[in-house]
Symmetry: C2
């Protein structure tokens, strides 16, 4: 285990958030989201100060009072600026660009509101983060500053300008596309310039890192690297044996079909949920022998319903499921079992029960479901995995690979997975489990910090 | 002028097409489309055999009878195969991918029909072309085979396998995107493999050529180059003085506003017509001083109305124009004058009359309107040009550059163009004219053939 060290972690969402209970008392909750879950491991092993946005009214009060956890700095932003930053620029503009979700014929439309949101929202909120980082560096000048994700692209340059000797690293958790020409030159140049102010810029995969390097006219002294994030294996080993999961699993076993195809996702267009249903429908049309024997369980966590594209996408999901079930279902067989809710215990129970796991993302920085579910599963379940998910660089050799746009190919892949013989299934599942156990989130953090140390020694010997 | 040489030109559309007149007699017409127009210059300077698809019933009869022009070989395809080749694969799949027109969240859907169209349409039709080329090479083994565009990506490999010593070149007239992961691996590998069977692969711009090279794991001995296509300057010098154009121009002069913004395009989503109207509307909203003084004339040639996306796009265009005119127009001022028709004389007349030419394509291999219109114009009209049009590599220094997605930026650019002082306008317009006169389509052909000779000598010394 590496030595404890001083880190300033910066991300939009933090490890804690505050609310009031019915009696009006302040209550503290764990922050949500995959990024926070993955980074929480840092807190155990290092001395971390975590800078994040105040996202609730109570967070704002805590921020104003200067109270709350000693190690968490909540930054309260102007509400209009935060709206521009979060609901106009970061989501959906940057997210959609980085997952190639725009049909460029008519969208996006960068109108005056976008330009205002860029300068008075995204840049302004990022500046608040940068100022909070500089304050922390005044207390702790040797700390490593560790920025996260697409909310903060402009912050490293701002900190670098104020503190030229600071040690800065940035992890981008989502795909880096080969072409940023959707953004006007001034915006895309600011993004590259912001990131290149870091000592290290890191991605999950070699592919995203290569796209980033190809997009730079000059990477200067910045070290561009990739380290695939992973999961907390010990946590899932505990979870799978917990009462909540076992209760859910008993319900599932009572109703499960002979063969269970599972998908677990947020209702995000990048997750490619609609094409997954179309592929399953095609499988059933072409292979009537599966009727009544196989079902698809879709556990979907509703996501970003403040953004119209996400509202529409959820409606399309529901229409597609209704169409499949009404066309092919019968009194005693429901082809698709759709559950739109946030229920993690049920997801883990389903991880134990699947025969085929479908992860067909359009693009995905990593995709942790592809690691979590095979780790927990003990049926020799088969992973059907998109070639555009970051996890494919690690797990592709033991998965059935699919192109996310190829619906016919996905139907073939589901059939191949359902009919794979048991020794082959067991061999692949065991290989995935061994890989995930060996390369867990603790390893991710240590290799990333090691990389940073080497880069930093080169710059500030 | 270079020596006459023997060329086999291969493109989907050819230089002539046949029909019957009212009396039932066979009539021959010039083939349409920008590619054919550009390549027609070849016929004057070299000994050309041109292989193209039979596209009319009469073409098919000519092909069966083995009659028609001695130098034109019309290949008659199976109608179902041609439908898959043309209406499923080439347009829209390849066209949409290469112009980044898909919103990947839900489209495209590569279903069984796509897979069938790939093997039984695209590959089959391409094979017919390859067989026609091989027959010609049997008569004329030293001829240079010159393939054109996205209809024929698989043909060079088929010819190379049959005739290893053949001299093969391929010109891609549309953009080459940095990411082909929308196509399943087998399809995208076949496309690269097909193109890399050529001695030379050429594009309009350094940008498309670089994207192609980055997408190759191995370019082997193929020479990848770029040569911007151009126009027949002498033809436009004649056209501008023709009676048809002068008649149209007189009509235009009688009704033109103080300042005329012009766009001339096919109704193709890649041309970005809808965002152009939104930008013009924003200009009028933010600058009421232009009300009544400036109009946008949109001369649009209806395109590919067999493809649903094109039908929808034309409807959106008409809605957008109706919205602008009803919101801002008055009894004596129509902000947008929309003409949906194929009327080349009117386009050339408008080329003479514009004050601002808007070319804001999402992506465009080259865009010849950006060369034709400034060549003909004598009012010192200003070119507003997309950074994603191939023409921008040549003409960007003298244009007002726009990002095609940045509607607010386009409104600013139109205002800047309308208010640019006359000496500056004249200086830029003269520079564009001089460039186009110097680099015309004859030069394009000669430099391309020169490049081919050098590459060919390296391979077959």
């Amino acid at each position: 285990m590496a030595a404890r060290r001083s880190l300033i972690v910066v991300s939009n969402r933090g490890p804690v958030t505050y609310d009031r209970d019915a009696a009006g008392n302040r209550v503290k909750r764990r922050g949500g989201g995959g990024l926070v879950t993955a980074l929480r491991g840092l807190l155990e092993h290092h001395d971390v100060t975590w800078i994040a946005s105040a996202t609730t009214d109570e967070d704002r009060r805590v921020a104003e009072e200067g109270l709350g956890d000693r190690d968490v700095v909540l930054v309260a932003h102007d509400p209009a600026a935060y709206d521009g930053y979060y609901n106009v620029i970061a989501n959906p503009l940057l997210w959609f660009i980085q997952h190639s979700l725009w049909g460029l014929a008519t969208k996006p439309d960068l109108d005056r509101r976008t330009h205002t949101a860029w300068t008075e929202g995204y840049a302004a909120v990022t500046r608040s983060f940068a100022e909070a980082v500089v304050s922390q560096l005044d207390n702790n000048p040797d700390a490593l500053v560790f920025f996260h994700d697409y909310h903060l692209y402009l912050a490293p340059r701002m900190v670098r300008d104020a503190r030229p000797e600071a040690a800065l690293a940035h992890f981008v958790h989502i795909p880096w596309p080969p072409d940023w020409s959707i953004l006007p030159p001034a915006m895309r140049q600011a993004i590259y310039d912001g990131l290149l102010a870091n000592d290290v810029v890191a991605f999950h995969t070699e592919r995203w890192a290569r796209n980033f390097r190809n997009g730079c006219s000059d990477v200067g002294t910045t070290h561009v690297t990739h380290h695939p994030i992973s999961i907390d294996v010990a946590e899932f080993d505990e979870l799978r044996e917990s009462d909540a999961v076992k209760e859910r699993e008993a319900q599932l076993i009572a109703s499960r079909p002979e063969k269970l195809i599972l998908r677990v996702d947020r209702t995000d267009p990048s997750k490619n949920i609609v094409r997954g249903f179309r592929a399953f429908r095609l499988l059933l049309e072409e292979h009537p022998e599966w009727h009544g024997r196989v079902s698809m369980l879709a556990l979907l966590d509703p996501s970003r319903q403040a953004i119209p594209e996400y509202v529409e996408y959820l409606a399309t999901i529901e229409q597609e499921v209704a169409a499949v079930n009404s066309q092919l279902g019968s009194d005693d067989w429901l082809p698709v079992d759709l559950r739109v809710a946030d229920d993690f215990a049920r997801s883990v129970a389903a991880y134990k029960q699947f025969d085929v796991l479908l992860v067909n993302a359009v693009y995905d920085g990593m995709n942790l479901v592809a690691k979590e579910a095979p780790l927990v599963n003990d049926r020799g379940g088969v992973l059907v995995l998109s070639e555009n998910a970051g996890a494919h660089e690690e797990l592709g050799a033991w998965a059935v690979t699919v192109n996310p746009f190829d619906v016919a190919g996905q139907a073939d892949a589901l059939h191949a997975a359902l009919t794979m013989d048991e020794p082959e299934r067991r061999r692949r599942a065991a290989a995935i489990q061994a890989h995930v156990r060996e390369h867990d989130v603790v390893e991710w953090i240590e290799t990333l910090l090691g990389d940073f140390d080497r880069a930093s020694r080169n710059v500030h010997p």
